[in-house]
């Protein structure tokens, strides 16, 4: 096993911020296989679906329809009827996600030469296990709002960790590392055959880097994306708090009532929580649209991503208003929750993709190597500095 991972020894300390750690110029083991990449992507999609099903449990008030945990009515598979369907299906999908995460973590730790990526996979598994325990605690403690809201918020963290892992294993990550090398031909030569084909992607990261220099600052775009992501995370936490304190219809009209009033006559805590979610939504909308605009401007390869992010956040605003107008139909409300998670996911991936482009640009000018530890690369090649 050790022989298969020679680069681990040299790149073991190389975290996401230190890919340029010194490494022997030896070929590393097998490339990040398409199977592992697809599995990581499938994991991200599964978690997104799990978020939707979790929202369905809350939307149908089925959180306690299965009173025991980890079993359900004393068995592994109860009669899937009424609220049991939502609760137990959520548990079943969660079990699937847990098993998938175990496979990903084991596979990554056995095959991945970048130690920080292997660690990330184990952290992801720890987060999934913790999330599962939180889910059990909500049942055992009879749905206390603080535990339920934490469970909902933790789901977003798990999603982001999985997306980070999937991106670290993606072909784009490797391509951007190679983009910093002085000679594209040398970079090509350092690739495993399977990856060489991937390097001929129509999206050229170097073009993005050059485009960035012309069109604006990658760093500024990344800062905008981080702010957007942070605002979305806060908004999701506010949404979870609102849902789990039954304040979702505390203000039953949008944007104003029949008399043109913005607020109901009686202002209580539920109204305040609800209005905080609404008011913050404006900030989120502006922050996300701004991040999408800047990212699309500085990196032409991210135009599609930026467009999808803008469309998703606009859809999210529409869903939020519809939930009020239609008096919180369960499926629509769950879609609002899941789409919120999708907005966060797209923001987080935008941050990562901008950060990699920024690193590629700065490493290229500083003569640093970003390919260290990436499977399939001859490490130790350094980009030429400006001098």
């Amino acid at each position: 096993m050790t022989a298969r991972r020679p680069a681990r020894q040299s790149a073991s300390r190389a975290g996401p911020s230190s890919d340029a750690a010194a490494a022997p110029a030896t070929a590393v083991g097998a490339a990040v296989s398409s199977g592992r990449r697809r599995l990581c992507a499938a994991l991200v999609l599964s978690i997104l679906y799990l978020v939707f099903m979790g929202a369905q449990v809350k939307s149908h008030h089925a959180g306690l329809s299965v009173p025991d945990w980890p079993l359900a009515f004393g068995s592994v598979w109860p009669i899937m009827t009424g609220g049991v369907f939502h609760e137990h299906w959520h548990r079943t999908i969660a079990t699937g996600v847990g098993l998938l995460t175990i496979v990903v973590a084991v596979w990554t730790s056995r095959r991945e030469s970048r130690r920080w990526v292997a660690k990330l996979a184990w952290w992801l598994l720890a987060a999934v296990v913790f999330q599962g325990l939180l889910g059990g605690l909500t049942v055992k403690q009879l749905l206390p709002p603080e535990v339920s809201a934490t469970h909902a918020g933790m789901a977003q963290t798990v999603l982001c960790l999985a997306a980070w892992l999937a991106y670290a294993c993606s072909s784009e990550w490797a391509r951007l590392a190679r983009a910093a090398l002085p000679d594209a031909g040398a970079a090509e030569a350092s690739l495993a055959p399977a990856q060489r084909a991937g390097a001929t992607s129509s999206r050229d990261p170097r073009a993005d880097a050059a485009h960035a220099h012309r069109g604006g600052s990658l760093r500024a775009a990344r800062v905008a994306a981080v702010l957007a992501m942070f605002s979305v995370y806060v908004q999701l936490a506010l949404g979870a708090w609102m849902r789990h304190t039954e304040a979702g219809l505390a203000v039953p009209f949008f944007p104003v009532d029949g008399a043109g009033r913005l607020l109901p006559e009686v202002i209580d805590q539920a109204v305040l929580v609800h209005m905080a979610h609404r008011a913050f939504a404006v900030l989120v909308l502006l922050a996300v649209l701004r991040a999408a605009q800047v990212a699309g401007r500085v990196a032409s390869g991210l135009m599609l991503h930026a467009g999808a992010l803008a469309a998703t956040v606009l859809l999210q605003a529409g869903l939020g208003a519809s939930v009020i107008w239609l008096k919180r139909p369960p499926e629509l409300t769950s879609l609002h929750v899941a789409n919120g998670a999708l907005v966060l996911l797209l923001c987080w991936l935008l941050v990562l993709r901008l950060w990699r482009r920024e690193r590629a640009a700065t490493a290229g000018s500083a003569g640093r190597d970003l390919t260290a530890g990436i499977p399939g690369h001859a490490t130790g090649e350094r980009a030429a500095g400006p001098a």
């Binding site: 025991d68 592994v76 009669i79 009827t81 009424g82 369907f85 296990v129």
Partner: protein, 267 residues
């Protein structure tokens, strides 16, 4: 590796013990009859002329009436569980406002106030709360605090019994099999404790945990008998009246020779 081993062991344990009964308090019984259900068809009851004041009979009794346009009966959508649909011949309405042909209002909890401040013993006979046709029978009931409640599942589908008190201890128990019984109680006095089934969201019952035994619940015709009130000394007592959607009200009743009557009209 330790984590992986623990997870695999946990999964294996779940599979091995998957068929075991989860709740030690529950016990399956095989002799709960599957009583045929007779559920009134969904209909808006037309209010009739005021009923005559009830005659004072042995014991303390009264009549709860509803005057005016009764709220439309809301049909329960049981489609999420085919068993529940099949358990009824026709549509089933919610139990929140049930008005009889003569304007009698059902499911109203009535209790006396101003009764002697004693320490009343809880009866040894349990009150039965049955789950029948995916409905609670009865919908509203009272106990003397610490009196047992025998909860039954007469349905061939699973239910969970989830009590949501404010000052007593909350509980949530699964009853996956027909014939199961479980006994619970509330140790403190508390009004209108909601008991619900999260599997079937329309299933709701209300329990009153009382300090004393002088209470009753109105029947389908609005008539109500106050338990044990014939034991009270002659005098005027307060009457507290509660309905889940129409709210609380109060009145008085004079008891003479162990008998008395009262009437209350919701409008």
């Amino acid at each position: 590796m330790l984590l992986q081993t623990a997870l695999v062991a946990g999964l294996a344990t779940s599979l091995i013990f998957g068929q075991m009964t989860a709740d030690g308090e529950t016990a399956a019984t095989s002799e709960v009859a599957a009583a045929a259900l007779s559920v009134a068809p969904v209909a808006v009851v037309e209010p009739s002329a005021p009923a005559a004041a009830p005659k004072a009979v042995a014991g303390v009794s009264g009549k709860i009436l509803f005057r005016g346009e009764a709220p439309a009966v809301v049909k329960i959508d049981m489609v999420s569980d085919p068993y529940c649909v099949g358990a009824h011949d026709g549509d089933v309405g919610t139990q929140s406002v049930v008005v009889g042909a003569d304007g009698g209002l059902a499911n109203v909890f009535v209790s006396l106030t101003g009764v002697p401040d004693e320490r009343y013993k809880a009866p040894k006979t349990p009150v039965v709360l049955d789950q029948l046709g995916c409905m609670y029978q009865p919908h509203v009931f009272g106990i003397v605090k610490k009196q047992d409640i025998e909860i039954r599942n007469s349905d061939d589908t699973l239910h969970n019994i989830h009590a949501v008190p404010r000052s007593n201890k909350e509980f949530n128990i699964g009853m996956p099999e027909k014939g199961m019984k479980v006994t619970k109680t509330f140790k403190k006095d508390e009004d209108s404790i909601m008991i619900k089934c999260d599997v079937h969201p329309w299933m709701v019952a209300y329990c009153f945990s009382m300090e004393h035994p002088y209470f009753g619940v109105s029947a389908a015709d609005g008539s109500v008998t106050i338990n044990n009130a014939s034991d009270l000394e002659d005098g005027e007592y307060g009457v507290r009246i509660w309905h889940e959607t129409l709210g609380e009200s109060s009145g008085t009743v004079t008891i003479e020779g162990g008998a008395g009557s009262f009437e209350h009209i919701y409008k």
